[in-house]
Each structure stands twice: as C-alpha cells, then as structure tokens.
Amino acid sequence: MDVVNQLRRQFVDYSTSLHREGILDDQFTQLQKLQDENSPDFVVEVASLFFEDCEKLINNMGRALEQQQGVDFKQVDASVHQLKGSSSSIGAMRVKNVCITFRSFCEAQNREGCLRCLQQVIHEFSLLKNKLQTLFRLEQQILTAGGSIPVIE
C-alpha cells in the first residue's frame, strides 16, 4: 500500500480515537481548520503555548496546596480557572472537565479533593501531551512523504 495513504489512514484513525476517548473535542477541530498556508504550524504553536501554560499553572496549584499554614483556595481557584479557560480554547476536553470538578473542591475549600484533582490534571495533561505529540509526528511524516493532512469532520 502506498506509504502516504497508509500514513493518512493512521492519522485519521488516531485522530478519531482521540475524539472518541474524549481527549479532544470539537474545538480542536476548529483550530485545525484555521491552519492554512499563512500559518502552517498554527496548531502546533497553540499546543506549545498551552503545554507551557499548563506546566506553569500546575506548579502554581501544587505550591499553593502545599502551604502548611493554610491553603489560599482563591489562589488555587484562580489557576484552575485559567487552566479551564486554555484547555477549553484548545479543545482539551478531559483536562477541562477535571478543572470543573477541581473548582468545586476549591469552592468547598477541600484540600484533599483539590489534591486529588491536581493529580488528575497532571495525569490528563501528560496523556494529552503525549497523544498530541504523536499526532503532530504523524502529520510531519505525511508532509515529508509528500502527502497532505486529511481533514477530519
């Protein structure tokens, strides 16, 4: 089978599975549609910004939750709110959903609940990052082999 077609098929299957597993939602597809000749790396660039943002916010949350003299839940919530926003903008559905739960624990000032959510955020973020990097690698392989990236509807 033609290498390009094989790669394209892999890409479609992989992309579909990411959506099916709820890792990505329609917003990610919206971003892919915005990518064009003027900005061929748009999605990768947005994803990179998101990864940086995520890491910074995760660190902030962790530090705030570790404060022995009393957790500033407002501060934690502010970071979670920001993460919820960016994950929503990039289509990182599972990360976003954890943030929603996380905010309830912040509101309830429940440290244990918050810590559990933080672990979940870290888990979902790592998963997303790995999967997106795989997806981007596949894209690169298709382009290198002279093909075009399939548009998933």
């Binding site: 709820g22 939602d25 329609d26 917003q27 919206q30 971003l31 549609k33 915005l34 064009d36 003027n38 900005s39 748009f42 660039e45 947005v46 910004l49 998101f50 940086e52 943002d53 502010a78 709110h81 920001q82 919820k84 926003g85 960016s86 929503s88 903008s89 990039i90 289509g91 559905m93 929603i100």
Partner: protein, 211 residues
C-alpha cells in the same frame, strides 16, 4: 451621531482593525488567528491597562495606536487580573473619544447577571468562550447590519449568544448554529422585561434558563 456601522467602516482600507484583549496566551493566539482569517487587522494585548495605553487613553488623545490605525472594534476577555474586561468596557464607554467603538466581551462563564451588566454598560455582544469562527463572522455581519439598522430605525439592537455550560455534556456545540441572530428563541424565555421596548435601548436576547 456616529453609529457603529460608520465607526466600523475603516477609512483607509476595507479591513477592520480589532483590538483584542486577553491575559491568556493561548486565547490571544486563537482570537488573533480567527480575526486574521476574517480579514481583520489585529492588535492583541494582554491587559486592560495595555489596551488603554494603545488607545492613548492613558494620556494622549485619539484612537490611533502605535501603527497609526484607527481601532474599529474591541474584543476583550472578561476575567483578567488587574482590570477586568467589564472595567475596561466602562472606561471606554465613559470616554468621549472612544465610546462609539463597539466593545465585545468574551467569557468562559455563562452568568446571566454578568451578561446583563456588560450589556447595560454598552457592550455590543457577549460571547461565550471558546470563540469560534462562526462567532467572528456573525459579529462582522451584525456590526455592519446594526450600523444600517440604526440609521434606519435610530435605535440600538443588542444581541447576545449563550452556550450551554458543558458541565454535563460531552461536546461544546453552541446553542445556536443557525446564522440568524434575531430569529425565534429556541429555549424557554422567562424574563419578559428584557423583551419589551423600554425607553432606553432595547435588547433582544436569547436566553437559556440555566441560572
């Protein structure tokens, strides 16, 4: 009186110059792309303070930014550290030089009182994030149409778009995917006073009874 439509017809070129304000890197990048794809010139800044600086509201006169382009539309996030989008909106609407520039508020939170406050202060629209290309397209159309409508009817029409808070749903499909913004309401309306024609500018609202 300068109407929104006139303000939006940029003198030098067909392109609108939009000032986008958002503290999130990710969101700035996305909104910038959405606007560029819609043939707008974009200046994206990270805070209300920077926005005012760009407009020259922190001292100098005129809505000409650093690159000499007049600002035709301001799109700002609501929740920002320091100055919120709401505070920025108020400052702009209370300034003689800039009050006619349409201001659109963007927020990830679908809170009725928040939406109402923004519209009361003169926001053109309240968009629920994540903002999509269809939102931008509709915005472009609405602002131009509104300019014409105002000329004809001498009255402002405010519209808003709401999205379901996707707490329980697995997709973030918008409430309205139809192009019409003044069409029939697809959900329960239980706030009749918002639909009547009060002496001050009337609002037409699509409401989701979620609060």
């Amino acid at each position: 009186m300068v109407v929104a439509g006139e303000v939006l017809q940029s003198g030098s070129s067909q392109e609108l110059h939009v000032l986008a304000v958002d503290d999130s890197y990710v969101d700035r990048k996305v909104i910038e792309k959405l606007l560029k794809i819609s043939s707008c010139q974009v200046t994206a800044v990270e805070s209300g303070a920077r926005a005012l600086q760009f407009l020259g509201l922190d001292g100098e006169k005129g809505s000409v930014g650093f690159n000499g382009l007049k600002v035709n539309l301001i799109m700002t996030d609501y929740s920002m550290p320091g100055m919120t989008g709401y505070e920025l909106l108020k400052k702009i609407k209370r300034s003689a030089a800039f009050r006619e520039i349409p201001v659109v508020i963007m927020s990830s939170e679908n809170i009725l009182t928040r939406i109402d406050s923004c519209l009361e202060e003169g926001a053109e629209e309240f968009l629920v994030k994540p903002v999509k290309l269809s939102d931008i397209k509709r915005l472009m159309e609405d602002c131009v149409t509104r300019g014409e409508t105002e000329e004809q009817e001498g009255r402002r029409v405010h519209k808003r778009k709401l999205e379901d808070d996707n707490l329980n749903s697995s997709s973030s499909s918008p409430l309205s995917s139809s192009p019409s913004t003044t069409a029939s309401f697809g959900c329960d309306i239980s706030i009749p006073e918002l639909l009547s024609s009060p002496p001050h500018p009337s609002k037409r609202a699509k409401l989701h009874d979620g609060d």
